[in-house]
């Protein structure tokens, strides 16, 4: 039984690939392990990365790469109280960008550039640049789910969009979707187990995805893991998994509320801007019938217009950056709940088989069948993987929301700063005129 799954934190980096230093350019440091990290040399098959299924092909060499090179992760302010702060070096960097429209006789679709930089030996080359469409990402996700049923797979943005309601080719939509795909891929690439999945390798490096025959065997095995667990009822769920389920339900609820509030704010802001624009035009038209007051009034009209623009920018940012991330987390929660359900199934199956085996043993003294032991292993691995993934998910969630919320705060501050600057320059203008008048009076 492996001692504990890796608990390293690799938060999804947001830097584009071109800005990331190649890992080999950094000096290598000798390892100093954190409290819970299992240090393994080469040759051990159970390096804490794998679960019982033979699907995993993570080689021992890469395991050591992960554990034997330790560097402080820049994103985490060296959190002393966080036991997961001592981490691994990233040696796989992925970015999704550069959307392009493709028009063929059959269909029109968007492709994205998927760039990879890596030092891993599983890859033939250190760099790759492929064009992929949403279908391909979906393929990857399905393959990952099938081949890693005990792990949490990050969600994809919504697959289907109602034609006529949303413009699939509008800049906004494509931009939002691309950011979500980028996040998805980075999360997979940062995951200590998922990132070694051969399907990911194919996705990142193969010219043609659907023609990889070698993976067929692996997917078949994965499917067997999925389908076996039908028909068993769970007795008692361990309390930690109950707690997870409850947390997820409440969290999803709160995110839904925040989504509604944000939408309401957007609505109110939009109506406010409409009125504010009219307000500005009244000052302009007043300026037309005045002499001395013309410039002050036009100044006010100008400031009002600036504030309208600033607010529209803020609203746009909320709907493009804030809301999509919220919604994506709701999808993420659903994925997590699914994994919890699968775990329950797996436990139920084990308990069922165990019970049946015990009864048979009592009857005719047959030894414990291998399947039961395998089930037990499976459950224990599942639990371990899930716990590890949970911790990582919690930690990522914390980072993601910290970033999201500070982002919103920044945008609001930015908006007010713009408005303040506009009004302050108006006052300077008006007061200049005043001192001009005063000096001409005294002369």
């Amino acid at each position: 039984m492996s001692a504990g799954a890796p608990r390293g934190l690799a938060s999804s980096g947001q830097k584009p690939i071109t800005e990331i230093l190649h890992p080999l350019s950094a000096a290598e440091e000798t390892l100093s392990p954190g409290p819970d990290v299992t240090v393994s040399g080469g040759g051990e098959k159970d390096s804490g990365l794998t679960n019982g299924t033979p699907v995993e092909t993570s080689s021992p060499a890469s395991a050591s790469l992960l554990f034997n090179r330790l560097q402080l992760d820049d994103d985490l302010d060296g959190d002393a109280r966080d036991p997961y702060a001592s981490t691994e070096t990233r040696d796989l960097f992925v970015t999704v960008d550069d959307p392009k429209k493709h028009v063929s006789t059959m269909e029109t679709y968007i492709t994205y550039r998927v760039s990879t930089k890596t030092t891993r030996i599983e890859f033939d080359l250190p760099e790759y640049c492929m064009r992929r469409r949403y279908q391909d990402f979906d393929w990857l996700r399905i393959k990952l789910e099938d081949s890693q049923p005990t792990h949490l797979i990050p969600p994809l943005p919504e697959k289907f969009v109602m034609k006529g309601v949303v413009d699939r080719f509008s800049e906004e939509f494509v931009e939002t979707r691309m950011k979500a795909l980028d996040k998805f891929l980075k999360r997979v690439a940062d995951h200590p187990v998922l990132s070694f999945n051969p399907h990911l390798n194919a996705f990142l490096s193969a010219k043609d995805l659907n023609k990889r025959q070698g993976l067929a065997l692996l997917t078949k095995v994965g499917e067997s893991v999925k389908h076996v667990a039908g028909g068993y009822k769970l007795r008692t769920r361990p309390p930690e998994f109950c707690a997870m389920g409850e947390y997820l339900d409440t969290f999803a609820q709160k995110l839904g509320t925040i989504d509604r509030i944000a939408q309401r704010i957007l609505k109110e802001q939009s109506e406010y801007v409409t009125e504010l624009r009219e307000y500005g035009t009244v000052y302009s038209s007043w300026a037309g019938s005045e002499e001395e007051l013309r410039r002050p009034l036009e100044g006010v009209a100008g400031c009002v217009t600036t504030c309208c623009g600033a607010l529209e920018d803020l609203s746009e940012n909320m709907s493009q950056d804030f809301l999509p991330v919220l919604r994506e987390y709701v999808l993420y929660i659903e994925s997590m709940k699914n994994v919890l359900r699968k775990r329950d199934q797996s436990q139920a199956e084990y308990e069922g088989r165990l019970e049946a085996a015990i009864l048979r043993k009592q009857e005719d003294r047959t030894p414990m069948p291998v399947e039961v032991e395998k089930c037990q292993d499976k459950v224990e691995c599942f639990n371990a993987d899930l716990k590890a993934d949970w911790e990582r998910w919690q930690s990522n969630k914390r980072q993601d929301f910290k970033q999201l919320l500070t982002g919103i705060a920044d945008k609001n501050i930015n908006h007010y700063e713009k408005c303040q600057a506009a009004w302050e320059s108006l006052i300077t203008l008006l007061q200049e005129k005043q001192t001009e008048d005063k000096t001409s009076e005294t002369n």
Partner: protein, 400 residues
């Protein structure tokens, strides 16, 4: 914004210090509740060090008494743009502001408006010398008889009449005043809608406070940060009340000039009336002169009953004719006097009115520019508050 240039203000310091509710019987012997305002008068000299300021002379007056005073001033000084009173009923309200005359916020703003009115009158080069105004400030007795005289004269101003040769300057002024009235009304209406919407934006943010608090309950490390950020969202939502309260002062400054346009229009109308009376007098004189000419030469160009009947029933005697001629000549002399008087009146009116109009224009430009500066300062203050709150929230988010 009032200059302290008049003799009256050099002598006295005027305040409308308080407002109180009273109940009493009105003219139809029914109970009513109304508000009275305390006028305080103090001598304007500086108080010596260590000495106590002199106790003010005070008296209570209600809004309707102010109205009577203003009507009196309008009639007595037709060429002056008489400062307006604060509004009788709350108009251009956005939904939160009470339209009730007894609401304490409305009463307070009215108190300020009444004080402003008194100070405007007291700093006017002509109005500040008026005896009735002085008595309004100092004597308790009721001088309603003055005001009833004033009221009847005012009625003639609402009559319809057309002037043959309108004075271009006054026409332009009336036109400007109408435009200003329209644009300020529009501005106040839209401002009220803007205020309403802004209120909505801020208040919805308060919901963040609640949900962050609920969310923080299920979090471990993130809990404190979320909870505190939630409090800041509550603060943000609450801050809009003070912001909009302050903006009402700006609205009041605009309203004063909105009502001022009525006073300007009134001066233009009075000028028209005088002009009309002059034209009528001149027309009347011309008519009489024509009659005299015809009588003297025997030609009848103008129809008159006398002329008609004399044609039909025979000529009048020489005596009769001469007596009529004499009457007519007397009438002409009187008419000439009237025209001279009216002309003088008109010229004097134009001179004094235009003096006051120039004074008013300067005052308006200065006051409105300061109002706009004040408004800009309010906006800056609102921005600073916003930055403060969001910066605080950001700090909390950073600690999550």
């Amino acid at each position: 914004m009032v200059e302290k240039g008049t003799a009256l203000l050099r002598k006295l310091e005027i305040n409308v210090a308080e407002a109180e509710k009273r109940t009493g019987k009105n003219t139809v012997n029914m109970q009513e509740t109304y508000t009275v305002y305390l006028i305080e008068i103090r001598p304007a000299e500086t108080v010596p060090e260590g000495g106590t300021p002199a106790a003010p002379d005070t008296l209570w007056r209600r809004y309707s008494e102010f109205e009577l005073l203003r009507t009196y001033l309008l009639v007595t000084y037709p060429y002056v743009i008489v400062p307006p009173l604060p509004e009788k009923r709350a108009e251009f309200v956005w939904h939160k502001l009470s339209a009730d005359n007894l609401d304490p916020d409305f009463v307070e703003r009215r108190r300020v408006g009444l004080e402003n009115f008194l100070l405007r009158v007291a700093s006017h080069p002509v109005l500040s010398n008026d005896k009735i105004f002085f008595l309004f400030l100092t004597e308790v007795s009721n001088r309603t008889h003055i005001y009833t005289y004033a009221d009847s004269r005012l009625k003639s101003l609402s009559a319809m009449f057309r002037v043959k040769n309108p004075d271009k300057r006054f026409t332009a002024l009336k036109h400007y005043s109408d435009e200003l009235n329209t644009v300020i009304s529009q501005l106040l209406r839209v401002r009220a809608r803007v205020a309403d919407r802004l209120y909505g934006v801020y208040k919805v943010h308060g919901n963040y406070g609640r949900v962050f608090s609920e969310w923080s309950a299920i979090e471990k490390e993130m809990g404190d940060g979320l909870q505190s950020a939630g409090h800041h969202m509550d603060t943000y939502a609450a801050s809009i009340d003070d912001i909009l309260e302050e903006e009402e002062h700006y609205a009041d400054e605009l309203k004063e000039y909105l009502f001022y346009t009525d006073a300007v229009r009134s001066v233009c109308r009075k000028h028209e009336l005088i002009q009309y009376e002059l034209e009528m007098a001149a027309q009347d004189l011309a008519h009489k002169k024509q009659q005299k000419e015809e009588l003297a030469t025997g030609t009848v160009r103008i129809f008159s009953l006398k002329g008609m009947t004399s044609k039909l029933f025979g000529q009048e005697s020489q005596e009769q004719r001469e007596s009529r001629l004499a009457t007519l000549e007397q009438s002409i002399r009187e008419g000439e006097e009237t025209v001279k008087e009216k002309n003088a009146e008109c010229q004097e009116f134009v001179r004094t009115a235009w003096e006051d109009i120039e004074r008013f224009k300067e005052q308006k430009d200065k006051d409105l520019r300061e109002a706009l500066i004040g408004y800009a300062i309010m906006q800056i203050s609102m921005c600073k508050k916003g930055i403060q709150v969001w910066s605080n929230a950001k700090e909390c988010f950073n600690k999550m």
